[in-house]
């Protein structure tokens, strides 16, 4: 039981960060605007949560210009993908084991 809980990753323990990682897991990349629209969050919200994930090296940030407008792309790193997968597995296991206890 203890080992399962230790796999629950605190970095993903927030709806927005969870959402950002989910989007990046299934897409090559996502830009700032599409993350904002998908998650229904504010600019500041997305900015601070992506920064937190970047600090953990879970996502990579690429800045470029498209039509002279700044464009920021986010990409899940290898480390981030692995950590998120472990988080998912831990969630699943936790739910399964609790269901077993309840039955």
């Amino acid at each position: 039981m203890k080992s399962i809980i230790s796999n629950i990753n605190k970095a993903f323990d927030h709806r927005i960060r969870l959402g950002i990682m989910s989007v990046l897991m299934v897409n090559e990349y996502a830009d700032f605007k599409s993350l904002k629209e998908l998650l229904g969050a504010t600019d500041g919200n997305i900015a601070s949560h992506t920064k937190a994930l970047e600090k953990q090296k879970y996502i990579k940030v690429e800045k470029s210009f498209i039509d002279r407008k700044p464009n920021t792309r986010y990409i899940a790193s290898e480390k981030g993908r692995k950590a998120f997968q472990e988080h998912l597995d831990a969630l699943e296991k936790l739910l399964n084991s609790k269901n077993d206890l309840n039955n």
Binding site: L18, S22, S34, L94
Partner: protein, 214 residues
């Protein structure tokens, strides 16, 4: 309590993965309309064909005949194009409406990806059918349309409802069967583009649209 939070987390993850990578506002009802247009088109085509002493009869040599009634060919071609335009137009209209209701953008990265991946095999198939027409291989056009349409659907299903794959395989198999019944292409065409669309559209509508409207 905690259990509930984790469950919510998991469903949020699934929801985000789907919404960001698949276009989920595709209208089921559009399929029903497309099927109806196809059947009407097929009936008109049938009437035109039985009026003239036809390209289509049980004679197998006519698969490769170069002797095509060009006026008839033009008319049939016009019907096919009309059905296609009507079907796509209705699909765009209904899908836009559904997207607005879902509070989703109609033209975002998911819909762009869907359109590109759907039309790439389809355009190739369309051009190939024109080549068949060029060489007078009339009998193979209907099977060929079904096969390429099936492939386009299977390819596109990765970018929208995965259920689309079923319709794709059905059309693909039907197209392959149709190659063995040259001369009955129109009937197969009506089944694939008409009947399958209607059945499938109703099924999709019940599964997704009705639920979300409630």
């Amino acid at each position: 309590m905690e259990n509930e939070k984790y469950l919510q987390d998991l469903s949020e993850i699934k929801n985000m993965m789907n919404r960001s990578s698949r276009f989920i506002s595709l209208s089921g009802l559009a399929g029903v309309f497309a099927g109806c247009y196809a059947i009407i088109g097929a009936i008109i085509a049938k009437m035109l064909l039985s009026d003239s002493t036809s390209v289509y009869n049980e004679n197998y040599d006519l698969v490769t005949t170069g002797n095509i009634n060009s006026e008839l060919t033009t008319q049939l071609f016009a019907i096919a194009v009309a059905v296609l335009i009507l079907a796509i137009g209705t699909a765009i209209f209904l899908t836009t409406r559904k997207a607005r209701r879902n509070d989703q953008k109609i033209w975002d990265s998911t819909s762009k990806r869907l359109v590109v991946n759907f039309f790439a095999p389809l355009v190739a198939g369309g051009l190939f059918c024109l080549v068949l027409l060029q060489y007078g291989l009339i009998g193979l056009i209907a099977p060929c349309m079904l096969i390429f349409y099936g492939l386009a659907l299977i390819h596109a299903s990765k970018y929208t409802f995965a259920d689309l794959r079923g319709l794709g395989y059905a059309n693909l198999i039907l197209g392959l069967i149709a190659t063995q019944f040259i001369g009955y292409g129109l009937y197969f065409w009506a089944i694939g583009f008409g009947l399958f669309h209607i059945i499938y559209g109703i099924w999709m509508h019940n599964k997704y649209d009705r639920k979300s409207a409630e």
